[in-house]
Symmetry: C2
Subunit: 326 residues, 2 copies
């Protein structure tokens, strides 16, 4: 796999430039806290609510930055991507805003709410089997056939620096220090961007990735310091079923403090708790960070923790607690 040379790792200037480029078009999402959740966690948690972001997830940051950075080329050729939903939706919005043709590949098990949203933004969808191999092959076929340019959902420098703007904005909003910053990890776009931001502007903040136990490829990659792919993982967190990428993996290996795991039942519990107590709608992938904090409570006791709630696109007729005993 190809890696970035050290000189190619985006600097803080590049991240700030990305944020400047997109900030007029994204929401400055609010921070929230819950006394009740803090009392359970035994810690002080500040949630950055990207579920309120345009398109219902942080993904619009990376998609817009990628599109704005290559506007001429993308307008000429059209764009494609593969995604289980939020990135597809983000690229669809970015394309619609910029008058660019968008054709996305989505796995056939993507939540209906996400496929419907993509359609509502006028993008074409081609469905495929829900494996990384099928997604990539289908996208390659579209590129060969139509000449589209791809915007990878995480393995793209402009996407990484775009996602990094979420934590940059978080630090701008805070008036005090945080000990930990926890984000879910799927392909690592958000986590690698967060690692970069902290290393530049808050080096004492430890960045931790949170991953479902049943989709622990990033955890294994981090512990072995060697890329381990995700192979058909079974987790409710539909946004976290991907493998790390050649660009995100080395940044995470070098700069993340740890990757921690959480159980499926804990994810459902944490998601329900956020809905019940904070009165906000978050999707399962979003709840993974809080679930992992609960499942690894000894690390975080009495600490101040930033948590990026990544998105809120959920099929309201298929809520995970309706089929479980939780």
């Amino acid at each position: 796999m190809s890696c970035l040379k050290n000189t190619e790792v985006p600097g803080i200037g590049q991240i700030k430039k990305a944020y400047e480029q997109i900030r007029k078009y994204v929401h400055q999402t609010p921070l929230m806290t819950s006394r009740y959740i803090n009392s359970i966690a035994g810690a002080n948690i500040i949630f950055k609510c990207e579920n309120f972001q345009k398109g219902g997830a942080f993904k619009i940051r990376g998609a817009l930055n990628a599109v704005f950075s290559n506007l001429k080329e993308y307008k000429k050729y059209g764009i494609t991507t593969h995604s289980s939903g939020n990135h597809a939706q983000a690229v669809a919005i970015a394309g619609l805003m910029s008058d660019i043709k968008v054709h996305v590949v989505m796995p056939e098990n993507a939540p209906e709410v996400k496929t419907e949203a993509v359609k509502s933004y006028k993008s074409i969808i081609t469905f495929c089997k829900p494996t990384l191999k099928d997604r990539e092959e289908t996208m390659e076929r579209l590129i060969a056939e139509y000449g589209y340019k791809p915007i990878h959902s995480y393995n793209d420098i402009n996407v990484i620096t775009g996602q990094a703007s979420a934590s940059l904005e978080l630090f701008n909003q805070l008036d005090h220090k945080i000990d930990y910053l926890v984000t879910p990890v799927g392909g690592g776009g958000l986590l690698s961007g967060t690692c970069l931001v902290c290393s530049y502007i808050s080096p004492h903040t430890k960045v931790i990735g949170a991953e479902p136990e049943t989709a622990n490829d990033a955890y294994l990659s981090f512990k072995k310091k060697q890329f381990v792919p995700s192979v058909a993982p079974k987790t409710i967190a539909d946004g976290l079923r991907t493998s790390l990428g050649s660009l995100t993996f080395p940044i995470i290996i070098e700069k993340a403090s740890d990757i921690i795991l959480t159980k499926e039942a804990s994810i459902i519990n944490a998601m329900k708790l956020i809905w019940e107590r904070m009165k906000i709608v978050v999707e399962p992938s979003s709840a993974v960070a809080l679930a992992a904090i609960f499942d690894n409570q000894e690390i975080f006791r009495n600490k101040t923790i930033g948590v990026i709630l990544t998105g809120g696109n959920v099929d309201l007729k298929k809520l995970p607690w309706l089929n479980s005993k939780i």
Copy 2:
């Protein structure tokens, strides 16, 4: 029924005093807007999100103001109330904060999430049949037996002035005028308080109550200018099954601009739309205002409308759209 004399109708000074008394203990809830919902409504809607309020509903405002206004007496005798949930929870919180014994009467069909919350705040619950008569009789029995002082959920001046603080706060937060202010109406505590605030500080704003078609007692009372009781209404909006009170009825008759109705299916639709698009959790009673705006769209076209989202206490395992075809 007893009415207030004109000289007893609370003035703006009394409402401001109530707000001063409670403001340290309640949240200044945020305002939210949704471009998508505005595009459907053909209007500009500003939501005041009392679902984020302490106890998950605006009711804490009235409960705290009542308790703080009679602290000595309530401490001596203890307090009781009857409520399907949010007022009970609010009184329970106010009692716990002030070290006052609280014993509430709840109908046996109150949502479990609300009865559990009341228990979590250390109040005693006595359940009764779900009619107003049973609720009142059960409460009278408790008063006779234990000597408690009652805090009525809406027919109490301190409760009305406390609830009025929600719209007072809304006007403090706004930097422009609003044409309409729409609130759900059950017993009329919030609606009458809102009427008072608008009549004093924004007289050009028309105040409208929104009510389920299947629980249209306030609508009938308003149109006939004569009190019509609520008799075992069947609506998903569990907070709106009560009748107007002797204190709220005359204020509403005199100062409200209209009371409008909405269908059960519209309530469920509006609730789901708020969850999906605004990513916030609101209960059915909360969604009644938006549903009524959609069902009476001609009134509101191109207007600026304030809507009080009254609460977010929902049993997440019993969502209305799971049993309907919507």
